[in-house]
Symmetry: C2
Subunit: 421 residues, 2 copies
């Protein structure tokens, strides 16, 4: 039994705990450390009731490095899965160094006040690389679905398919419906900020930025159909740019019209702002008020219907032949809920986080320094996520993928069936 | 010099103080009583600087009847113009009774929690009618533009034009632009609630209600052109229904598409709610957060361009002939700003409030009981508002006013010029 700790008690933390309880309870002895002991305790109650698995919980603000390190030492934790808010990452990494503990998270560190951070991102985390190297500890950054698995897809394409990678388009399309007027799949404060920020992308070895919603493409993707996708600033573009410095790299996300219009309305009024304002006699940040009015993200799972496709379309060269590959995974909200009571976003973050924890503790991914997923050997990890419930596929794309007018058709399951037959 | 007190220090209070300072400083000695001494003091500073008029200010929560009465007695006030939030009306009326003081306001009493109050309105105020009668004091309710002047238009039409009034359509269209994405002309909390409530209207002697934005008409009006107007629950419908119990009565307001869509989005998310919610560690009402983010209503005046038309279209019978009249006033934001630094909404509430205060103190309107404007003799009052800056007109309408397909054309200044020539 490996002792690990989940920091956080939100939507993703709950799904991760449930996944461990259902599928790896022989392997992990898991505790939960969270600022909010009510939600932490609820998770422990749930996994005991549903999977007969015991987990312990501790109350601790993840920003309190000293106290957190004390609890980690007391827990004899070998690894921390940090699923608390993104502003906690540096302190939790510090606590791991203090308590001789491996670390992984599933997204970028972001200070509360960060907005439109200039590329490349991950600079604050990098400051800690030498400390992890010296301590011989692994810190694996952003190992969710996207970022995370998609980075590993790129590593695999480089290893198996291409001598040189020229273009990487990261795609994320959720065609699900949950019946709520306005909701996010994870922490609204983090999610809405991401969508309001300018996008950053790589072209010809240079960074470019553009206003939110100013760059869009229409894609047809496996399992989800045709969608208008917007360029959004996303973690993996920034770490992949380091591994593939001359490649064109951009992240595209499906954002529905109603959601986008609502978000833009809220933003214009100032309701997405994190800056506290005076309201009668109290100080409050508008985004926190908005978040408090929105559905709790994990609650969406019960009514969610539909599928999510996350894909990487990679154009590269091998022996002077240029071609394009798609690596992708399609997950259904219903199937994820059926499996562990979570929606796709939570499920597909929990699976790679748990697989990565195993990989590190088994030594396969024990890098003994701070790394991004694309720096590690992808094959065994990609097997593991399949075993844990996330199947994925890779496929060669037709030479011209922009076949249908303005729609970029990468739906290898439907549209090209004959071509591939 | 008549000693009067303005209660409140918002947009309308500021305009009223400035109007008095500019045009009636020989007649009124005015003080301001407000919960917020900062804004009250600002008004006093402004009128001293701009019009060389001295006003005093006192800090007092208008809901504190006892303290308010004490200040009114100390001020030797003969009349209170209550321009504080609508939840204060009953307490301020009580303080007037306690201090032997006449009372007027410009809108309905509304408790904070009131929403979709069943018709007819004004029931809480009516409870105080006998007290005002016994004290020989006048309480004049809702003497703004609409409600207020429009009620007097109806009284005048009954006196001069018709034996019997059959239909009253109250119209309010603002074609102004102020350059803000989302703003209200007065207290956002009060204004937005009004627009989210169901509408109530009279038909064939009965009350009817319908969801917000569910009833609309397209009108072409003097000075502002053609607009889609929505049926909105409004004060004057409720008091006029008592005077004209068998008439059809409805209030129609122009609400622009962008404003309506934004409001409906905010409402669906819960941001128009007055119910306090827990946000992190504080309690706050979403509507107050929204209001805090919106432009301060009086600040719109500086950039406002365009006109407002408020009209009453009255169909009636005289000696067995049925005809329709329009009584209306068109005001421009620029002219109001030029005159006293206020936009039309503030200006056209201040003018009738000040004229009514004069009428009461001079004895013309000293009803010595609680009354609505339509119960009083309208002619001198309508002269006075003209003198104070609000010109108005009355005109016979063509027999069929619905001349242009679905558009109800009541623009007697443009469209019917030939007919009337």
């Amino acid at each position: 039994m490996k002792k690990i700790v989940i920091v956080g008690s939100g939507t993703i933390a709950a799904a991760t705990a449930r996944l461990i309880a259902k599928k790896c309870s022989e392997y992990f002895q898991c505790s939960i450390i969270a600022r909010n002991s009510v939600t932490a305790r609820l998770i422990c109650d749930d996994v005991l009731r549903d999977y007969n698995t015991v987990m312990a919980w501790h109350e601790c603000n993840a920003l309190d490095r000293e106290n957190l390190a004390r609890i980690l030492r007391w827990s004899e934790a070998e690894l921390v899965i940090n699923l608390a808010t993104p502003d906690t990452h540096l302190e939790v990494m510090g606590a791991c160094l203090d308590s001789n503990c491996h670390y992984l998270d599933t997204a970028l560190f972001e200070a509360e006040s960060d907005f439109n951070v200039s590329p490349p991102w991950y600079q604050p985390e990098k400051q800690l690389k030498s400390s992890f190297s010296e301590a011989g500890l692994t810190a694996l950054l952003s190992i969710g679905f996207d970022p995370g698995i998609v980075n590993c897809f790129c590593a695999k394409a480089q290893k198996d398919d291409f001598d040189e990678i020229l273009e990487i388009d990261l795609l994320c399309a959720n065609n699900g419906t949950h019946g709520h007027f306005f909701a996010t799949n994870f922490n609204p404060s983090v999610n809405l900020k991401e969508l309001c920020e300018e996008t950053s992308y790589r072209e010809a070895g240079l960074w470019h930025t553009a206003p939110a919603f100013s760059r869009s493409r229409r894609y047809c993707m496996p399992g989800v159909g045709e969608h208008l996708m917007y360029s959004v600033g996303h973690e993996e573009v920034h770490s992949l740019a380091e591994k593939f410095p001359s490649a064109t790299i951009e992240f595209w996300m499906r954002i529905g019209d109603q959601f986008r219009q609502t978000l833009q309305t809220l933003e214009r009024i100032g309701l997405v702002s994190r800056e506290k304002i005076m309201v009668r006699d109290v100080q409050v940040a508008p985004i926190d008020v908005l978040a408090a009015l929105m559905p709790e993200p994990s609650s969406l799972a019960t009514t969610y219907r539909g599928q999510v496709c996350v894909a990487v379309v990679i154009k590269g060269r091998k022996q002077n032949v240029t071609s394009s590959m798609i690596y992708y995974s399609v997950c259904s909200h219903e199937a994820c809920f059926e499996d562990i009571g979570a929606h796709v976003t939570a499920y597909t973050t929990a699976v790679p986080a748990v697989a990565a924890a195993q990989m590190i503790l088994e030594g396969h991914w024990n890098a003994k320094t701070l790394v991004h997923p694309e720096e590690l050997e992808p094959d065994l990890f990609l097997e593991r996520i399949s075993e844990l419930g996330m199947s994925w596929k890779a496929s060669l794309l037709p030479t011209t993928i922009s076949s249908n007018g303005e729609i970029i058709n990468v739906d290898v399951e439907t549209e090209f069936a004959q071509t591939f037959a």
